[in-house]
Amino acid sequence: MPDFCFPAVLVNKKIMFIIKYKKIFIGISIALVVLSFLSLFVFGLNIGIDFKGGALTEIIYKTERPTQAVLDKSLTALNFGSILLQPTGELGYIVKTRDLNDAEHSLLLKTLSLGHSPTGEAPDSKNTLTEMSFNSIGPSVGQELTRKAILAIILISLAIICFIAFAFRKVSKPVSSWKYGFIAIISLLHDVAIPVGLFVMLSHYYGAELDTLFVVAVLTILGLSVSDTIVIFDRIRENLRNQAATAKMNFSEIVGKSLEQSYVRSICTSLTVILVLLALFFFGPVSTKYFALMLTAGMFFGTYSSIFLASPLLVLVEEWQKKK
C-alpha cells in the first residue's frame, strides 16, 4: 500500500505510557507467569479420568440423599479401591472409582441404591436413584488420548510458529523479522500459562479436572491470541514502512503510534469473543463451564499481552540492539 498516508494527528501521548513504563508492564506479566508456574508446582494438576482412566458415575436420588458416611461404609465393602463420593446438586452424587466393567457397574449401582435405607437393606428401593451418566475409561484409552493431546499440542505450536514466520516473512528494520516472531511466541506462552495457572487454582479449590476440553481450551487460546498480536505487529510494520517516506520518528514512537491506532480494535475484537464466552460460562451447559472460563482468561490475557507485553518487548529488544 504505497499510497497510504497517516491521519495528520500527532502521536497521542495517552497510550505512550505503556512504552515509557514498559519495564513495569513486562514485570507484571513475568510475575503473573511465575505465579502460574508456582501454583502448578504447589498444587499440581488434577488429572481427570479422560487421561488416567477410571470411572465416573453421576446419580440422583429421587427423594432423599443418604449421607456420605452411610454410603462410604457399604462402598468400601465392594473392594473397588479408593472410591470418591462428591455431592452434586440437592440429591445427587458423583462417584469416582477406577474403571469398572459391566458387572462392577451394576454392583456399584445396586450398592448405591441399597444405601438409601438406614438399615442397609431395602429391597424395594430400586427406584430411589436414577443414573444420570456413567463414564468408564480404560487406562489404555487414557494413554492413547494423552499421546494424541501431546501430539496435537506440538503440532499446533509448530503450525502457529510457521504461521508467525510466514506472517513476518518480510524483513523489516530496525528489528529483524524473526524477532517479531520470537516475541509473538513469548507472548503466546504468556497467554497460555496464565489460564493454565488459573485452572490449577480452580481445580485445587473447586475440584475442576484436567480433561479433554482443557487441552482444547489451551489449543484454542493459541489460535485466538496469536491473531491479536499479529494485528498490532502488522500495524507497526506498516507504520515503519511509511515512516521511511515521511517524518523521522524513532522506533519507540512508532510502536506507541501503532498501539494508539490499534488498541481500540484489538480490545473490541477480543471483547466480542469474551462477551459470547461469558454468555457460555453463565448460561451454557455445565460441561463447558470451565472451558468457557479458561478461554475467557485466555482471550483477556491474549489482548493484554499484545498491548502490554509484546509491544513493550519489541521496544526493549530494539533498545538492546542499539546499545550493542
Binding site: 444420570m132 451418566s133 468408564s136 492413547e144 503450525a159 489460535g223 485466538l224 491473531s227 460441561s287 463447558t288
Partner: protein, 453 residues
Amino acid sequence: MWKKIVLALIILVFGAGIAFFVFKSEPKLNKNFETQKSFFKKFPFRLGLDLSGGSHLIYKADTSLVPAGQVGDSMNSLRDVIERRINLFGVSEPVVQVQHGGLISGAGEQLIVDLPGVTDVKQAIDMIGQTPLLEFKIEAPKGTPQTATVDKNGKVTLDVNSQFVSTELTGRYLQKATLEFDTNTREPKVSLQFNDMGTKLFAQITKNNVGKIVAIYLDGAPISTPVVQEEIPNGQAVISGSFTPTEAKQLVGRLNSGALPVPITLLSTQTIGAILGDHAVNAGVKAAFIGFLLIALFLILLYRLPGLIATLSLCIFISIILALFKLLPVTLTAAGIAGFIISIGIAVDANVLIFERVKEELRSGRNITDAVSVGFSRAWFSIRDSNISNFITAVILFWFGTSLIKGFALTLGMGVIVSMFSAITITRIFLSTLGFIGEGKVARFLFSSGLSK
C-alpha cells in the same frame, strides 16, 4: 446503484429463505411441525450423545491373529457385523466407526460404537456382544455313558446334552437364514440355507442319520430336535421351535449377522442420561441466544448504523451455519455448541476491524463512500491473518480429535470460513447500498462511533 440494491435484496431474500428453512425444520420452533411436508422433516439437528443421551462404547479388536495385509478388511467386516446386530434392535442412527491404530493414536485397532437413546449400558453391551452359536448335533452312538442327575425328590433327569455329539456342521457354514411361516399352523419358522461346504456336510449327516434325531443347538441349548426323514442334499434345513414371531425374527437376524471375525474387548463406556442431555441443549441454546444479543447490542452501541448492518449479516451468518449443521449434517455436542457460540464472537471480529478502519478513514477526511471502500480493502490483511490462525487450530484439532474435540473443531472451523463470507461480502454489499444517505450531519453521526471520539 440499482444493481447494488438488487444484489442486497437478493441476499436478504436468500438469508430469509435459509432462516425459514431452519425454523421450519425444527420441531421445537415450529408448532405445526407434524403437518409439514416430509422435506422439512428430513433435516433435524443431529445431536451427539452428550445431548441426546445414549451410550458411547470403545472396543479394542484383537487383530494379532489376522495377517498384516488383511487387518483393514477384517475391521470393516467387524464393523458391518456389529452394525447389523445393532440395527436388529432398532436403535435409531447408530454410529459404528473403525479407528485404525498407528503412529498417531498409538493404540491398536479400535471400534467405536455410538448408540443414541440407549442409556442402559448393560443392554447395549449385551446387544453387541451376543454371538449366536448354531450347532448341529447327532444322537450319540448306543453305549455312550450318559449322565443323569437325581434331585432331592428322587426324580431322575437325563442330561439331554450327553445324548448328542457334536458334528462339524455349525453356523459358520450358513449362507443365510430367512423367516417363514408354516402354511398350515401359521407358526413362524426359520429356514436355513447352507453354503457349498455346509450342504455337503448336511447331506452326509442326514444320510447317516435317517430315522434319528439331529438336534439344532443355539448357544449351547437345543432349540429344535427334528427327526430326519430322508437325506437332504440341497442344503436346506428348517428350525421350527416354539418361537414367537419376534423371537424368530431376532434369531434370523442374529444368524445372518454371523460371528465376529475378530474378538473384541470393551475398553471404555460412556452413558449419558437423557435428562442431562436435555439440560445441556437448553443451556446451550440459551447461551447462544444471550451471546448473540450481547454482540448485537455491542455492535449497535459502538458502531451505530454499520453495527446494525453487521448484526443483520450476523443473523444471516447464524442462519447459514445452522442450515449447514442440518444439511451436512454435523453432529452437535456440548463442545460443538461452544464452538458455534465462539464462532459468533469471531464472526464479528472482521466487522470490528473493518469499522475501526472506516472510522479512521472518516477522521482522516474522506467521505463516507470512500471511507467504506478503503476501510474494507485495508482491513482485509488483518482479517485474513487472524482467521488463518484459528483455522489452523481447528483443522489440527479436527484431525487429531476424539469425537468430542472433532465436534468443537468442526463447528469452529465452519464458523471461521462462513464468517469470512458473511462479515466481508454481505456486510459490504449492504453498506454499499447506503450511498443515498449522503454526507450530511446525520449520516456522519450514524457512521461514527457510539463511544468516545
